[in-house]
Amino acid sequence: MSRIGVFVCHCGLNIAKTVRVSELAQFAATLPDVVVAKDYKFMCSTPGQEMIANDIKEHRLDRVIVTACSPLMHEQTFRKVLSASGLNQYLLTIVNIREQVSWVTHDIDEGTAKSKALLNGAVNRARLLAPLTSRVIDVNPDVMVVGGGIAGIQAALELANTGRKVYLVEKNSTIGGHMAQFDKTFPTLDCSACILTPKMDSVMQNKNITLMTSCEVSEVKGYVGNFDITVKQKARYVDHDKCNACLACTEKCPGKGVSEWDEGLVKRKAIYIPFPQAVPQKPIIDRDACTYFIKGKCRLCEKVCEQKAIDFEQQDTFSTMKVGAVIVATGYDLMDTKPLVQYGYGKYPGVYNALEVERLFNSAGPTGGKVTMRDGKEPQAIAILHCIGSRDKNNYEHCSRVCCMYSLKFAHLFKEKTSADVYQFYIDMRAAGKGYEEFYNRIIEEDVKFIRGKGARVAESADEPGRLIVEAEDTITGKFIKLPVDMVVLSPAMKPRADSKDLARLFNLSTDKYGFFMERHPKLAPLSTMSEGIFIAGVCQSPKDIPDTVAQANGAAAEALTIVVKDKMELEATTAMVNPASCCGCQNCVRVCPYGAPFFKEDKGVSEINEALCKGCGLCASVCPSSAIIARHFTNEQVLAEMEGLMEF
């Protein structure tokens, strides 16, 4: 025999307009074991909460049912009422008659009937509920940041400044990310290096940050508050503890590799630092370009290195860090435009992609900041083609958000550095950030030509060898144009890192169809993920500019801090467990669990669930053929009883 109290909320008129709330309360009073049933205008208000608390005492209630909004909104509120009244918080049941009833119907009869059915089921289930105890776990105070672009740098610095120890894991040999490749940044046109490199240096200097370059995460174990993350340190063939950054080696090296930093426009040495302000300032050897690794002879670097830092025998090493929270900030790649053969990238030397052009502007770039093309000539006419692969159902449906703006930036820089005519081929001009419309107006005044129409094709000019023809439809005049130019700049879609799905698998993140990491809620939890304790920031979540990236990085740092600032944390008690006597060892649970909680015990031939990892989603219980899994708070008996209650209607 239970003593159940039912509390029906009107939610103002939100619920009351499509559910007869007092009728629902009267109906509740007729159900077995229900000793008190009331309706009230706002159950979540202080008087509403007090009413429940009083009734718990007065009627010695041992189960409470609140029929109101989604448990996502107020489950915590009412749980606290129960706890404060001396009842175990898991003896609360929420029946969602707002999102699931009143908001999905206009018919008050239907709404009332459905509410009754749901309530009837809930009463059946409530009887079978058992008190549960939340688990309290220790929290590791350190944080790991994966990806050392501006997002990762910013997040790491924020956290380190609060006194947290931060591991910053970067897969390249330097931090900085894409921002380090730029010359100027829109809309202010301030020098990218001037604002970025001080931050890169702070990272190096900050005692709380352990900078791990040429590193990649290889295994993630554990759970919020207690991650064990194994990081692979890729062999650099230079002992950075011994190296004093004199860079004598890089001068003597005969090896030739392709400079990734300069987007392949020039060669670099086999032992190299990517760019002069790289952090750390210490070189690595590119095995594939090194004469010694290829031919077995050379070792010039070793000879000139006074520190004896060169180590050809170096191997990849692995180390495991313990952290309480993780921020993933791995950024983006640009789409490969070669497959879009209509634009001739890779075929015509005059066609460039946006990042290559960034390097042409950069004084540390391949041309020393002069805009000269692959043939050494300065262009006389330049076409910038927006939305290449973006806003394109055949490639990436999304708007990459920054291309309009950097295309304007390019136009400005072309105007500044050359006497060329500059044409923008755009679909819509999207200038929605702070100072962006103003920037757009400024560029219009700089005599840049705007053609509203997507560049359709780039072809070689038949009349003037070496020149290119851009074809497009000007959608304002409705005319088809063929514009002869010397240089074409493609603004390609920003896409997730090629390895983003692997990383998602490691960290148990969800991705959208392209591989951008999914946030827990697009509006209310944009930096959290479905994996507790793992946060995302920057373009790895979706295309955005530097200001938004930095804002997200700060936000993610704050979110991570809310976890690691406590030394203990409470976890939901609603986890699943395996009854080993019924388990047939099929491992369905192991395969379906999105959180990697179940594991198979070879010796016993049965599965077990790591409670700390389990989020109580119940997937395992539903695929277990021999119903060996007990999902606490949603046991088979509880769910079946609820269904029976529902089906009585």
């Binding site: 019924s582 099929c586 008996e637």
Partner: protein
């Protein structure tokens, strides 16, 4: 020409003998004499001396993969596996019930197997219709080629043509005859749960005595549990004492599964079981 049953039996004895003698396996699962020629029994040879008791003839239909899960993990087992049986072995490897390295598969190409009850030839109507094992370490006869290759799903035409009501009536009538002996479950290599859901009392998923509700609950759930896993050996239907054509339902589910996920059960040890392996590119048809 297909190798004769007698020859296969000889080869089986020789190969099993070699394995046991060399200590490569601790047992060989094969067939032995039953009360008559038509009813050979599953047989476990644990030493060279046991090998003589082995037989192989056209009535050796039992799917021996059924017995693999009985022995402790890590036991080295030799197993005689006909075409469909080998798919069961693969499916069990996919489900990590056995490890490939622990098995020596003695593959048997089959042609001319017979249903002991009816003496009819067994073909794609009641099984997957393959002639040769999909996986084996040693082949005990020449591969069978040149025989008609039939779709295992052709037999579904009649049930697929039925309307919903007619189909329900058909299955209700068939399943109403079930006497709940659970021979189907016992014969099935994929039904290895202990306890089976239907044997449980808390909660009790369905009535245990033979009546419509409980019978539907048992069989429909069993069909469902075998979705993407049934390898179409047809043994459940042959084991059934009241001849319920269970294979029709299993084939229908297998067909849908194959169409939806592009993979048939037990065809490759590198695949994962279709229904518990989420791939982003999977068809959403299953939600319809």
């Amino acid at each position: 020409m297909a190798t004769s049953f007698k020859q296969i039996e000889e080869n089986l004895k020789t190969e099993a003998g070699k394995l046991l003698d060399a200590g490569k396996v601790s047992m060989v699962l094969a067939y032995g004499r039953g009360y008559d020629e038509k009813h050979p029994l599953p047989y476990v040879a644990r030493s060279l001396a046991d090998v003589d008791g082995m037989v192989f003839n056209e009535y050796c239909t039992a799917n021996l993969a059924r017995y693999l899960v009985r022995y402790p993990r890590g036991t080295k087992i030799g197993i005689a596996a006909k075409a469909a049986d080998s798919r069961a072995v693969i499916q069990l490897i996919q489900e990590d019930k056995v490890k490939r390295d622990d098995l020596v598969i003695l593959g048997i190409p089959v042609y001319g197997m017979k249903n002991a009850k009816t003496d009819e030839a067994i073909d794609a109507k009641t099984t997957c219709g393959l002639y040769n094992p999909v996986i084996y370490d040693v082949l005990l006869g020449e591969e069978v080629h040149g025989q008609p290759v039939l779709s295992p799903y052709e037999v579904l035409e009649k049930v697929e043509a039925m309307g919903q009501d007619e189909r329900f009536a058909f299955w209700k009538k068939e399943l109403d005859r079930c006497i709940r002996c659970y021979a189907c479950r016992k014969a099935c290599p994929m039904c290895y749960c202990d306890p089976c859901f239907i044997d449980q009392n808390k909660p009790k998923w369905g009535e245990k005595s033979p009546e419509t509700g409980g019978n539907l609950m048992y069989h429909l759930t069993r069909f469902h549990h075998l979705a993407g896993r049934c390898i179409d050996c047809g043994e459940c239907s042959r084991a059934c004492p009241v001849d319920i054509p269970l294979y029709l339902f299993h084939k229908k589910v297998a067909k849908e599964c194959e169409e939806m996920f592009g993979q048939a059960a037990g065809m490759s040890i590198d695949e994962k079981p279709a229904l518990i392996n989420f791939r982003v590119e999977d068809s959403d048809k299953i939600l319809e």
